[in-house]
């Protein structure tokens, strides 16, 4: 995949090999056999004019989640590497916790997908002023709310009950993040009418295409979600 490998950029969502050294590389997805893995690997890494192919079926959905977790992890790593002006001790602790959660999610998907994982994506955070509280928290809010709506939309697309449970384990943590970030911006806004339908108290979901259209602002790598289930 030499031609397809993305060149590391300054905002590269960079993989460190050490990052997965403690994780079982066992491909728990159930695709035993090197040839099957190679085929999947090839498919997952296929990149042409239409963008990086996430793949199809449950693998595609997991790669879609992996892409979003890459984005979130890269964002919070940058946030916590040099906090915005005026960040309180409390805010620093909370944002560092969130960073660690997103890194855990990202590395979990990397290990889970094994050879089917998409490569590291390249982020574009040029629109964010990391020194400015308003800019950082507004972006965090956008990412967290987007993540919740993405998982909520992806859940019914999964075929495997195991993956649905795993997605469920993660989405509620993203919702906890989202509520906290919203409260940091404006206390009491944890369930705003922009995210929760005021008629029935049910949170809105987004399709992969809707999510990627929004996330695309922050990802240089073009992503092709056309083979995802719908």
């Amino acid at each position: 995949m030499t031609k397809e490998t993305l060149k590391p950029g300054p905002e590269m969502l960079e993989e460190k090999d050490a990052g997965i050294s403690n994780l079982s590389r066992r491909n728990f997805l159930g695709y035993a056999g090197a040839s099957a893995s190679l085929l999947l690997f090839g498919a997952a890494c296929k990149k042409n004019d239409s963008g990086l192919d996430l793949g199809s079926g449950d693998i595609g959905i997991l790669n879609y989640a992996f892409a979003l977790e890459q984005l979130e992890a890269a964002f919070y790593i940058k946030v916590a590497s040099s906090f915005y002006t005026g960040a309180t001790t409390d805010e620093r602790a909370l944002l560092t916790d969130i960073r660690d959660h997103e890194v855990a999610h990202r590395e979990f998907f990397r290990a889970a997908l094994g050879g089917s994982a998409i490569p590291n994506l390249e982020a574009d955070f040029s629109s964010i002023d990391f020194t400015n509280r308003t800019s950082v928290l507004a972006t965090a809010k956008a990412f967290e709310d987007l993540g919740v709506s993405a998982y909520n939309g992806a859940g019914p697309l999964l075929q495997s009950a195991t993956y649905l449970t795993l997605a469920g384990k993660i989405v509620s943590v993203e919702a906890r993040h989202a509520a906290l970030i919203r409260d940091l911006i404006s206390n009491g806004s944890f369930v705003g009418t922009d995210v929760v339908n005021p008629a029935n108290g049910i949170e809105y979901a987004r399709t992969p295409n809707e999510v990627l259209a929004i996330a695309g602002t922050y990802i240089k790598t073009k992503i092709n979600a056309s083979n995802l289930p719908s």
């Binding site: 890194v103 449970t165 469920g168 906890r176």
Partner: protein, 277 residues
């Protein structure tokens, strides 16, 4: 109290009800025959255990059975916040706290209305609740017990998150219902996050918006079942503690915070049951 009529009503919504409790039903019939004060005094206890037997132990296999379970949890939350806003409203007048509790109360009432509408004619009726769990907890609606109220609110929200999560795989056959359940699930998590921040502001200084290990965050020990199992740090065979990437090593605390764990039907029901008269 006409128990036999109650059983007839229950049979209408749950055709298997009679079958499941028939030995005990016979016992109640005999007891009703006594007509003594002693027998009547024993009835509430007997009825409680009958209902537990009928609805508490077995995972429902049909969508409406699962939704009725969700509805029971939402009834509990809705009544809890309705009573709490009423009880603590004066004390909290003009604070962000009462605004937040009112928002959550309204969400829970909307969930009740939505589920009742989705289930239709077989929607279960609201049970009678005892938010002291038979005296286990102080009365959360006394002005001096506002912190008890918040502690129970946290326990109910975290239970709700875990219970919906546990039922999601059982709803895969109905995508519309699954989507709605997931949409309620994340709202409960948002509530949990906010309630936890409210408790932190009230002095529960180590409480975070997320669940660390199986720590119940200073809530009375009787609520430990709400958090048991949250200490899991291995997901689908991958150990999360110790992951190292980007100069960050994931601690055990972060590993358990990163993933909320599901409750089984029986686990969630046994928690709710504590508060059902």
């Amino acid at each position: 109290m006409n128990l036999l009529n109650i059983f007839k009503e229950l049979e209408k919504v749950d055709p298997e009800f009679n079958e499941r409790i028939s030995p005990r039903r016979a016992a109640i019939k005999n007891m009703a025959g006594f007509g003594t004060k002693v027998a009547l005094a024993a009835v509430p206890v007997a009825l409680g255990s009958l209902l537990t037997k009928a609805y508490g132990q077995t995972q429902p296999t049909d969508v409406n059975g699962i939704l009725n379970f969700a509805l029971t949890l939402e009834y509990l939350e809705a009544e809890f916040y309705t009573m709490g806003v009423s009880a603590h409203g004066t004390l909290l007048a003009g604070t962000p706290a009462i605004g937040a509790l009112t928002v959550i109360r309204d969400d829970e009432n909307k969930h009740v209305a939505f589920l009742r509408s989705a289930i239709g004619a077989t929607a279960v009726a609201k049970p009678n609740f005892d938010f002291t769990a038979g005296g286990t907890f102080p009365n959360p609606f006394l002005p001096t017990n506002y912190d008890v109220f918040l502690a129970l609110a946290q326990a109910f929200e975290d239970t709700g998150v875990r219970a919906y999560k546990g039922q999601a795989p059982n709803l895969m056959g109905n995508k519309t219902v699954l989507a709605a359940a997931l949409g309620i699930h994340s709202v409960e998590a948002r509530h949990a996050s906010h309630i936890r921040q409210m408790r932190k502001a009230r002095g529960a200084s180590t409480t975070k918006p997320w669940i660390t290990g199986n720590d119940r965050g200073g809530i009375p020990a009787a609520a430990q079942a709400v958090y048991n199992g949250e200490e899991l740090d291995t997901q689908a065979g991958a150990r999360i503690t110790g992951i190292a990437a980007d100069g960050i090593t994931i601690t055990s605390a972060a590993a358990t915070e990163s993933f909320d764990e599901p409750l089984t039907y029986a686990e969630a029901f046994s928690i709710a049951k504590l508060f059902i008269k």
